[in-house]
Symmetry: C2
């Protein structure tokens, strides 16, 4: 009854598609990875990275898996990947060098190990194993088969500063004793001690270049400037020079070099503002008209977003015929300041320039110095912000200023950090900027400033303050806008840093807490916790896995009342799994006992298990920053004694 099957299988196709027998394994779920390997993952120096894959194979065979990791110097190390649950294999490696690591995973069938396992199981029940032993001998020098290698993945390792840093912005010309005696780079040096005393890491200066005169904006962004108006530092370029020049009123390159060195002496870094646009008076406008958009009427195109017109700003035409020369010149601007010792750059409006321009520029600069940090100032759609970070930006401003409620804070955080996004996107939360004095801050309540500072500095390892207006709680805005009234963007101001209302001591304490507590030095462990009062936000972090990190590894729990007028109270329900095994003990009735120590006030409370009561009167205290410590029996006895 046998009937012969007639083959119609295309053997030639079989030959072509699988020249040799195709490998029996498949590698999936490669981690960490961004857009399936299209862009690098980001880490900072000394991070311990868990490299993981799923490797599946048919049948019951022993699978071998290894990581091959090339460091930025090109040295390759091979690390066995161990089998975890199911078919997951992983290895942990500390990335201790700055720059770009490359890694692949190899997987194979370990036929020798498979036979050895079989022999062991047969021997255990007294079954003969001669066949297996001979098969093992015959494998000889080829104990493995079906070796495959996964796609190439990259990890960019940045300085810690790219991920964990407090930024402090101020206008150099407002560092003088009075508006009549404008500040200079020399008075900026005096201001460094002030920033350092508050514990910041980076001093960021708005553009220091010559300012154009044509179409100069007046005080409070007036369309016409009055004589004597100093103009906006972002209208770059005049007969005094362009992006590689210093405004004559601010000083000389010698002053600048001294500023950079003085900052370094104080443990600070200077960040410069890179705003790739020109005033009509920029030397490049006459030297390189081909880099701009020439309109049909012969004029050079200025920035427009109809009906708005910005005659004082000429954008570059990144699509121009001479784009190569333009791009090169712009990269050379960054290189110029880098050679003068600047390793941190705040990039103005990167979302109005092509992604491939940034991808090329950042890669090119980081090839010179992998420690350069680029902060993207793109208040754009999250899809655009994410793409800028994929192509290379180290860290990015976010819409944090407008996230007020616990719901908003949690969901915006998820929007930016969910999925694979925490692998490449680093948020920098700014409490204010020269353009952003939120309506919430305009109410002028001290507790609002305090609460926003604590939120920014604890929710994000990278955060920023534009001062001294912030610590002095300046709250006056141009009517119906978020711009500062008599803002420093358009005029010279002077400030009394010793004003007794200043929040400088809170800022100092918050930065101190950040330095002392490892949990606040990254964002990967950020978890939001439920509170039955919808005005109270609660979130926690635990210490990063990082070699050589010196500091207190306690988990940190932050609880903030977002209602700045009324006392709010309620029960915070902690997801105890977020704190690891330490606070989970199912045998403890009512949950584990632990101490929550408020690092702002010094208060200490004993909490138990998941649900605990909080109460915050904003007129007294808007926020808790708790360090958590499990209480062991001996502690509790002492407590009772």
């Amino acid at each position: 009854m046998t009937q012969q099957a007639t083959s119609s299988v295309d053997l030639a196709r079989l030959e072509t598609e699988y020249r040799y027998r195709p490998e029996r394994l498949a590698i999936t779920k490669i981690s960490p990875s961004v857009s399936d390997g299209a862009y690098p993952t980001k880490r900072v120096v000394n991070d311990i990275v868990e490299f993981a894959v799923i490797v599946v194979c048919d049948g019951a065979v022993e699978i071998g898996v290894q990581l091959r990791l090339s460091d930025p110097s090109g040295n390759e190390q091979t690390v066995p990947m161990n089998r975890q649950a199911g078919y997951r294999f992983s290895a942990e490696v500390a990335l201790t060098e700055l720059g770009s690591y490359t890694w692949v995973v190899d997987a194979w069938i370990d036929r020798a190990a498979t036979l050895r396992s079989k022999i062991g199981r047969k021997r255990a029940v007294g079954q003969p194993t001669e066949n297996e032993e001979e098969e093992l001998r015959r494998l000889g020098d080829h104990p493995c088969s079906d070796r495959i290698t996964s796609r190439i993945e990259h990890v960019v390792v940045d300085r810690l500063l790219a991920s964990f840093s407090g930024w402090y912005e101020f206008f150099p010309r407002s560092t003088g004793p009075s508006p009549e005696q404008p500040g200079t780079l020399r008075t900026c040096i005096d201001r460094l001690d002030y920033a350092a005393s508050m514990g910041f890491d980076i001093v960021y200066l708005p553009p220091i270049h010559p300012i154009g005169r044509s179409h100069r904006k007046g005080i409070n962004n007036a369309v016409e400037a009055n004589p004597g108006d100093v103009g906006s530092p972002w209208a770059i370029g005049s007969s005094d020079g362009g992006h590689t020049s210093i405004h004559p009123d601010l000083g000389t390159f010698e002053d600048f070099d001294l500023l950079v060195a003085s900052a370094r002496d104080r443990g600070l870094e200077i960040a410069l503002d890179i705003a790739f646009q020109c005033s009509p008076d920029h030397p490049w406008v006459s030297e390189h008209p081909e880099w701009f958009s020439i309109r049909p009427d012969g004029s050079i195109g200025y920035a427009e977003n109809p009906p708005k017109q910005y005659q004082d700003i000429l954008p570059f035409d990144f699509d121009c015929t001479e784009w190569r020369a333009l791009w090169t010149a712009l990269a050379d601007v960054v290189r110029f300041w880098h050679r003068r010792g600047v390793r941190v750059f705040r990039i103005d409006n990167p979302h109005t320039k092509p992604f491939p321009f940034w991808e090329w520029l950042i890669a090119d600069l980081k090839a010179d110095d992998p420690g350069i940090v680029f902060l993207a100032e793109a208040f754009a759609h999250p899809d655009v912000m994410l793409q800028l970070s994929r192509v290379g930006f180290s860290v990015a401003y976010t819409h944090f200023p407008w996230q007020h409620s616990p719901y908003d804070l949690e969901h915006y955080s998820e929007l930016l950090a969910g999925g694979d996004r925490s692998e490449f996107f680093r948020a920098s939360s700014w409490v204010n900027t020269p353009d952003i004095l939120t309506e919430e801050l305009q109410q002028g309540l001290r507790q609002t400033f305090e609460a926003r500072l604590v939120l920014a500095a604890t929710m994000s390892a990278s955060y920023g303050v534009y001062g001294p207006v912030f610590e002095l709680q300046v709250a006056d805005a141009i009517q119906g806008s978020e711009e500062y009234l008599n803002g420093e963007k358009y005029e010279v101001r002077a400030w009394d840093l010793d004003d007794e209302r200043s929040l400088r001591h809170l800022m100092q304490r918050v930065n101190e807490i950040r330095r002392e507590h490892l949990a606040l030095q990254h964002d990967r462990s950020l978890v939001f916790h439920h509170c039955d009062n919808s005005r109270i936000v609660a979130f926690s972090k635990t210490a990063p896995r990082r070699v050589g990190a010196i500091g207190d590894p306690s988990p940190i729990l932050v609880v903030v009342n977002t209602d700045h007028h009324n006392t709010q109270d309620g029960y915070v329900r902690l997801d105890l799994r977020a704190f690891g095994a330490e606070l989970l003990d199912e045998s403890a009735p009512g949950g584990v006992a632990y101490e929550v120590h408020d690092l702002l006030t010094g208060q200490r409370f004993t909490w138990h298990g998941a649900d605990n009561y909080v109460r915050l009167d904003p007129w007294l205290q808007s926020a808790h920053v708790f360090a958590l410590r499990r209480l062991h029996t001996s502690d509790q006895q002492m407590e009772l004694a």
Copy 2:
């Protein structure tokens, strides 16, 4: 004060990497997609598919996006993709042909549209537009720039049967009037009316091939068979033939052809079992010893998983030197039965054969007939099950039989369908198999059988029953195992289909409900809902987006008491968003009123909003299968009248 920057940018590299100016757009988040395009997405005929991407670009430009879709015949259609929220673009297309569709996305900057928008906004405020109009004219025949195309993606379109089908398995030799008069293919034909009357779609037969005599297993899987023992149908091959032969006791090829035709006449399809393994008596063992593993002692290797030994089963050596001939012969087995009219195959233990073998075999067979359905019987680790579906299996058995609690049911469902997995993995929930009589069913409670049937048939569009033991509630197992006592795998049985205890009428009603209600004809809309009683599981589905689907489009809500002994009650909290806008009306105090109509009992209740009370006494009724219908004011007035 200008200082000339010295260029050190590698212009050659710039030239090489970006021969022409690189495009300013980036395409991300391509959907639907499996493993970033490495494997095809799956759909069934007439599914309306939403193709979507995120396209970002710098600046404020109009972006054009289109889908280019090639149908299985090679005809390409171009469909504009419209901008949704943010930078998301999408297009919906009904896939009306069987086979493999190919699609890509093109995106570009629409410079003409950008200028027209600018002109419009300037005109609205009376600003001159001569420059823009001239720029528009100059664009001429090149209104667009920066065109990019995304990676190639595939969608495999299967028959509805691949996703939505009720399977009914029975042993051909047990269709006779008594064990002494074994069934044949002819008596199988008589059994078709029974399966059709219950509303099943597929009749699946265990292997119908000659059964080996060497090392034949006896009744209840005894190591030694007694004379007259019929052996397991999975011990394939004897002197009567192998995988392309029919067991002489079952009948002839003429009988088989009649069976296939008879099934077709009743709206049924025959599914055959493909078990790629041999008994020691299979003709191939002597004809093609090179396809098997020859041990050092000269014997042919049998299946082993030490200490277990299966001397009656010889596995193929898929790695053998003659693997091409072996693979071709195996594909030809499937092709042989396909040519006899079989288009549905249940593949036995595919996880013990190489993934690339299946990838090649399935593609090769579906090139002949894209309507072929392959069911994977891999009770393996989910990672392995998922990979089998990635490489081509249409649908797969799952661990459903062992998911008893609401928690297990929900989390196992998420494990298999979360992330991109619903794009390629289709679950088939089986209430039992010849190897799986779960401990839960062994208790022998009618309500357990009923509840499990309703769960399988409503949670999964594809589900299966091994009968008649299931409807007759056979519950006796071999002590300490999940194998049926005196199971049909090793002996001939006969059944009284008209037993009054039979669940055949419930099965008939459940299959009828599945046919009438579109929501139960796919799994994509499956949502679990919270119940404050942890023994009650609740889930819902809504109708698929599918052209030409005829049936009731009401949402279906299933509520099952998983405690088969005690009455359980509680509040189900529906996530009303799962039902679309219909049940969401924030203006309605207490929520929208809607009717829940139990399709099993005919009961009707009026529910309001999210929280509603349920109570199920398993001795009376274990499950509700509710159709939901919003009540409008007129209905409610009628109700009150």
